[in-house]
């Protein structure tokens, strides 16, 4: 290990996250490698190592001859200070080599509040922030992940945006790069060629013009770049890569367990949910394969916990045989099986009972999202009060004594009556417990949490205004006044980060200056309360002559050119608009299993049909 690094590590918190060397970390012989990829996660090691997408890409790339993918995470403040003081540039964990010497610097961007960390990492690496200031072919800075469905706020910093699932397109991008390197292409030539690979958006090949009122006038491609770039998906999950052999951190991380991915996408179409749209269509893995992969992953890692992951596990068609197959292996070995993202219905509850047989009964979590049936219909959250209370009844009869309920405030069409519906629902949960609990002496803990709704791109609510912070807090106060039951605890998220998130997640390219200014004034780790400062951001907006409310709290018209209009996830904009109108009529849209409502995502599949 580098002696300078050893000296630094003697003085920082949790040094284990800065050294690599974990079981299954891939170390390759540099002599046999001609493409080096620094896969960066713009948050801490603990969070980044809990990200399944990172693990998949890491595995896919390292299975490829001649390619070596290494990991990079954001150092915590004490480590960053020490690195800057000692002049130690950002390095990759596997080799310890400086990130600036890599062929690719790739960022996995799941949330907008990580933008300043991207800048910070580029800077720590000693790289110029702006793509235009990096004339050489290497390194190519690429970004992917859910936040990249509106990549514009960080467009000037990156060379390539990879849309959708990265398993295939990353390798195509690398293949083209190797050719570029061999044939001595310029960076501009490489990017022009890369623009022809479906799923790769090259920001520098698009000109954006604005109207006087600040809205986008046009997004114009140049040099043969496509007018619309559509995301990539893996069509056959049974043949897609799953990291059975994956890194086992030697120090504790957030998700320290086997993560088994049941399916991608979601049939439900909740109108507020970006994931529900951008991951369309739903694609599952066969349960026999999942059982095999789950067992192998446990064996290889030595993990004693497994989580079944998906956007809505209750919708997995073979959930019972899957759980049975896994339990056969797990139960005798005392491996615990967790199944989050269950719906509030009786089938799911019985399944929970089964999984937790003999184990400790931890808390139950439900996300009704809205307090009234009317509003739940408007957002297409297909759960009824009856379902929810029945599930609670089953749980209380089974001895559970703690329930968490998650809601959003500020959903489109919301009235104060809907807000008070939250208190009402919490009370009904309480009376359900009083009536059916088998163990009243233990008491009941009901926790109600609200957050401020953030309208996201590529959803039916992408045109909506976010509630202002004042409006959100008014609703919080209203709700507080109506939650007097001592068994009910009410927690509300502060609206400041939601406001910033809303401003950044539907932003245009002009926000790059704001992000850079905020970063220069100290913003980083914005999703961490230790660091977040709204003041820094408001000052940065002001310094750049922009108004965050223009992005967060303004309703967009049907004909406005949205900054992300050249990015497609396969779902038609006309479909989203129709869904928005249906929301205002308070009507639900059937899920993909009941009926295909023609969102457009089917054209991403082989043969043009969704297999739900």
């Amino acid at each position: 290990m580098d002696h300078k690094l050893e000296k630094i590590l003697a003085r920082v918190q949790k040094p284990g996250r800065y050294v690599g060397g974990e079981y299954n970390a891939v170390v390759k012989d540099k002599a046999g490698v001609d493409c080096r990829f620094a896969l960066c996660f713009p948050d801490t090691y603990e969070i980044g190592m809990s990200n399944l997408g990172m693990r998949i890409l890491y595995g896919v790339m390292n299975e490829t001859d001649g390619v070596w993918c290494e990991r990079v995470f954001a150092p915590w403040g004490d480590m960053e200070d020490a690195m800057r003081r000692e002049g130690l540039p950002l390095y990759a964990l596997e080799s310890g080599d400086p990130v600036k010497d890599f062929d690719f610097v790739g960022f996995s961007v799941g949330y907008e509040l990580a933008y300043t960390n991207i800048l910070n990492l580029l800077d720590l690496a000693g790289l110029p922030l702006r793509a235009a200031d990096r004339p050489d072919l290497a390194p190519i800075v690429v970004a992917g992940g859910t936040a990249m469905y509106d990549p514009e706020p960080i467009a000037p910093f990156v060379d390539i945006v990879s849309l959708g699932e990265g398993e295939d397109v990353t390798l195509e991008m690398i293949r083209l790069y190797r050719r570029a390197k061999q044939e001595g292409w310029s960076k501009a030539e490489y990017l022009r060629q890369a623009a022809r690979i479906p799923g790769l958006y090259i920001p520098s090949l698009y000109d954006v013009t604005y109207h006087d009122d600040g809205t986008v006038a046009a997004v114009t491609p140049r040099d043969g770049a496509p007018a619309v770039v559509t995301k990539r998906i893996v069509t056959d999950m049974n043949r897609s890569y799953y990291p059975v052999k994956t890194i086992v951190p030697s120090t504790e991380v957030t998700q320290d367990r086997v993560m088994l991915e049941l399916f991608r996408g979601c049939i439900r179409g909740c109108r507020f949910c970006q994931a529900g749209y951008v991951y369309r269509p739903v694609r599952g893995r066969d349960y026999e394969l999942l059982v095999k992969q789950g067992i192998e992953a446990c064996r290889d890692s030595g993990y004693q916990d497994m989580t079944l992951m998906s956007l809505s596990s209750s919708d997995y068609p073979d959930l019972l045989p899957l759980c049975d197959g896994l339990l056969d292996y797990c139960q005798p070995r005392k491996i615990s099986l967790a199944l989050p993202s269950l719906r509030a219905d009786n089938f799911s509850m019985r399944l929970m009972e089964k999984l937790q047989a003999g184990g400790r009964k931890s808390g139950l979590t439900f996300a009704p999202e809205a307090g009234s049936q009317r509003l739940r219909d408007a957002i297409n959250k297909n759960v009824t009060e009856e379902d929810l209370l029945n599930s609670c009844r089953t749980a209380f009869e089974g001895g559970w004594s703690s329930v968490k309920l998650y809601f959003m405030l500020g959903l489109p069409t919301e009235t104060d009556e809907d807000v008070l519906g939250i208190a009402d629902l919490a009370n009904k949960v309480y009376y359900t417990w009083k009536t059916y609990s088998t163990n009243r002496s233990r008491g009941i803990r009901i926790t109600v949490s609200t957050s401020c709704f953030v309208p996201k791109s590529h959803t039916p609510f992408q045109w909506e205004a976010q509630n202002t912070m004042e409006e959100y807090l008014r609703k919080v106060t209203l709700l507080r006044e109506h939650m007097r039951n001592k068994s009910i605890t009410y927690n509300w998220h502060d609206p400041e980060t939601s406001f910033l998130e809303a401003a950044l997640s539907r932003g245009d390219r002009r926000l790059a200056d704001v992000i850079e200014t905020a970063w220069r004034n100290g913003a980083k780790f914005d999703s961490w309360s230790e660091y977040f400062s709204l003041r820094t951001w408001l000052d940065a907006f002001a310094a750049c002559g922009l108004d965050p409310a223009f992005y967060a709290s303004r309703e967009r018209g049907k004909d406005e050119v949205l900054p992300w209009s050249m990015i497609s996830d396969g779902v038609k904009t006309s479909y989203l608009w129709k869904e928005k109108e249906t929301a205002y009529q308070g009507k639900i849209t059937p899920d993909c299993k009941v009926k295909c409502t023609g969102c457009g995502a089917s054209k991403l599949c082989e043969g043009g049909i969704c297999h739900v």
Binding site: L9, G16, V248
Partner: protein, 223 residues
Amino acid sequence: MSDQRILFRKAGTAKYISHLDLMHTMERAFLRAGISIRHTQGYHPHPYVSIPLPLPLGFSSDCEILEFGLVDGATVETLPEQMNRALPAGIEILDCYDGGLAFKKLAFVRYDITLEFETAQAEEGAEDFKALMGRESFVVQKKSKKAKAGFTEVDIIPLVEAVEAVRAEGTVLSLTLLLKAQNPGLNPDVLLQGFKSEFPDLHVIYTACHRREILDENKAPYR
């Protein structure tokens, strides 16, 4: 049947695995290697792994010991190779054997300690260190969670069994010390802190501690 022990090295990147994380790492490595080990009795059975003398974070060692009970999946002969394939970088099993001396018989630890100075102060540091060790007593404050004041006072001198080597070379001072292991033992970090605050003119920029050997009361290797 008696329990088993492994003797292992912990160095390189593994220096930064804390004691608690090391226990988890070992439990998982046993599972990965297909070796089943004895679980504790009681209401919440868990795998039994025990380390007589936890190694402070950042120290390296050639002589760590872990006790466990081998149930199935390996013999003491095959275990080192099986485990070494399942462990993270920097942890290496050197030996596996049945039985072993009682934990309380672990009496001394031989440490190799390196101090790096900003300038060529090693000679001066060596003289100061020897002088310090020649004192009747040298009381330092040691952080303590139990004590009300947040620290306790320890006299270091009786806890240093022997100063076996002192080598100065330019900016680097190397010490080999034999320290009491337990009841009470001396963590070399406590000694180094005391040394540094006693001689504020010495500018120590880095220290490294390495456990070379652990010894029983007769100063024979403890196993």
